[in-house]
Symmetry: C2
Subunit: 344 residues, 2 copies
């Protein structure tokens, strides 16, 4: 018997979803992008789903349930935006064990409702169940595809510019901070009742990036306004490297990005130093930032520079040139590598 | 803090989903039926989602993974049929722990693919993850609403006939058989290596009803062909009583059904006797049969009798007459009661 870890997440998905036939005219695009694309009578529609498990995707020791609900919804909306669309409906399934009170569930739903309100989405259905151990959430978001069709991972072309919104690595360092304080707190608890409370001062931004991320609706709106249609797009949930490699694989191209151009917030840089981590590694592999990574034609070079909070980090190349990161300083060329989810 | 068990499943759902606003024109009907109803450019669309957890909804000791995949898909399709629609797309999220091999996942997907093929549905997306303990499945099915609009739980009217497809209680007794043999097997294993294998002879039908249920597409097709449009419909996942009470609540009506008219298979009756169970109780509360429960105008009385495998079990009444079961024999009137899911 083959352990799942030997294939990795993406190898496993490829194996399980190989040669799945599409038979209905209402299915435009099946497995393999941020969303499936459907067409029920004229308007393109995007559908995406995500499952979150306690102990794997979140830790209730430091994740308030309201934040968990908010984040779970936003993460799904982000997949809709990553296809250039607008989320409209959300379905939420939830399983909880006996530790969870009605009031805790109220909080979780408060977060879900808040996210729906903020992004203009209707909560239209779901399922509620008990679990033997741990909280499980599964969300499905549905939305409008852009009029000119969903922006997929597969449209990047040679010479396209590679762009990224916001900044990267902050959510990852937020998580490191929470994990560190959790350990300190656990240690204190057993030894000393008067121990110090967790100290996050100066790191509020990093915590917020991890605990309460936002989807980049503003970037989609700005791109539409500027009449820029990305040739490919994806949201950064697993880290920049991993997502860029998805675009290269689906678009059958190479890429060349520059370490010095990767947008990093000042707090992220400081905190990485505190943890003795390479900040570029955090930005390349950290994940959970939910920024948008996209490619645009070279001819949009000037127009993109007028959009706030978007940075050009490199360009698309012919596939035989490989996937290259040009490092800071000596400008060494290294191969881009990804870290995905691996089963235990 | 209020334990969830104090509210019950349906009370909890009502609390969590109270006063959820609908703001998008593409949302026709939100929370509260077998499916949400959407409208993206002309054609009505149905969406439904379900989460299944190991140890709560299934037991891998006696559930082959291929069957689990098949059943999980069919259960979702059944919700689409229960609104009079046709399932077209399926999204599948799955989380597995380290016990599960790649080959086991292949089997699960084989079952999912088989169900999709059998019902003409496209598998269009999903999510794959690890879990700390146990297998979790979450499925979302999408399909066409009928042209005249989704058949909801809320349309039953006084004097309508109450109909049910197929027969009831079989899946519940299939489960009892599996649980019994599991215990016997566990007992044998520790004492005697040459112990007898599980004995299911004569009970194959019951096992199949539990392990490999089918959704009643044929009934929807027969109703369409006979030009009968049910005034309300629901699929029987939690048991006849519970589902009929949903219809009464949503339609603000009463009902009167006759115990002697509840369709029960010969094997179900025999097996109930073997277990010393009241077979009507099994049929009323057993669940997992995935038959259709629906109401039709009295004027369709003759036409419905021409449809094979549909039984009239009673009629809808004014709400003040209550929800009544007329028992066999002495024809005593008792109040219909439901058993839903209650958190531990």
């Amino acid at each position: 018997m083959t352990p799942i870890s030997s294939l990795g997440e993406f190898g496993l998905i490829r194996r399980l979803t190989a040669n799945i036939p599409i038979t209905n005219p209402s299915t435009t695009k099946g497995v393999g992008d941020d969303c499936a694309v459907l067409n029920y009578g004229g308007l393109g529609q995007l559908v995406t789903t995500d499952m979150l498990l306690e102990g794997v995707h979140f830790d209730l020791v430091y994740t308030p349930l309201k934040h968990l609900g908010y984040k779970a919804a936003v993460v799904n909306f982000s997949d809709i935006y990553a296809c250039g669309g607008t989320p409209r409906q959300l379905l939420v399934s939830i399983a909880v064990d006996h530790r969870i009170s009605v009031e805790s569930l109220d909080e979780l739903y408060e977060g879900l409702r808040l996210a729906c309100k903020h992004y203009g989405v209707d909560l239209v259905g779901g399922d509620t169940s008990s679990s033997l151990t741990g909280v499980v959430l599964s969300l499905t978001a549905i939305g409008d595809a852009p009029e000119r069709g969903a922006i997929l991972r597969s449209g990047a072309m040679d010479t396209d510019l590679v762009c990224v919104s916001g900044n990267l690595g902050a959510a990852y360092l937020g998580l490191q901070l929470l994990e560190r304080e959790k350990k300190v707190f656990a240690g204190n608890k057993s030894n000393d009742e008067t121990a110090a409370q967790p100290d996050f001062s100066g790191h509020e931004y990093l915590l917020e990036r991890f605990l309460k991320p936002e989807a980049r609706r503003d970037i989609i709106e700005a791109l539409n306004k500027a009449n820029i249609r990305p040739t490919s797009m994806i949201d950064i949930s697993d880290g920049l490297s991993s997502e860029l490699l998805h675009i290269c694989q689906e678009s059958k191209c190479g890429c060349r990005i520059y370490e010095e151009r990767i947008p990093i917030d000042y707090q992220t840089a400081l905190c990485a130093e505190e943890f003795n981590l390479n900040v570029s590694t955090c930005a390349l592999n950290g994940g959970e930032d939910y920024e948008l990574l996209f490619t645009i034609p070279l001819s949009d070079h000037e127009r993109i520079q007028e959009i706030a909070d978007v940075r050009i980090i490199g360009h698309i190349t012919r596939p035989e040139l490989g996937k290259v990161l040009v490092t800071r300083g000596e400008a060494e060329e290294v191969e881009l590598k990804a870290q995905g989810w691996i089963a235990n």
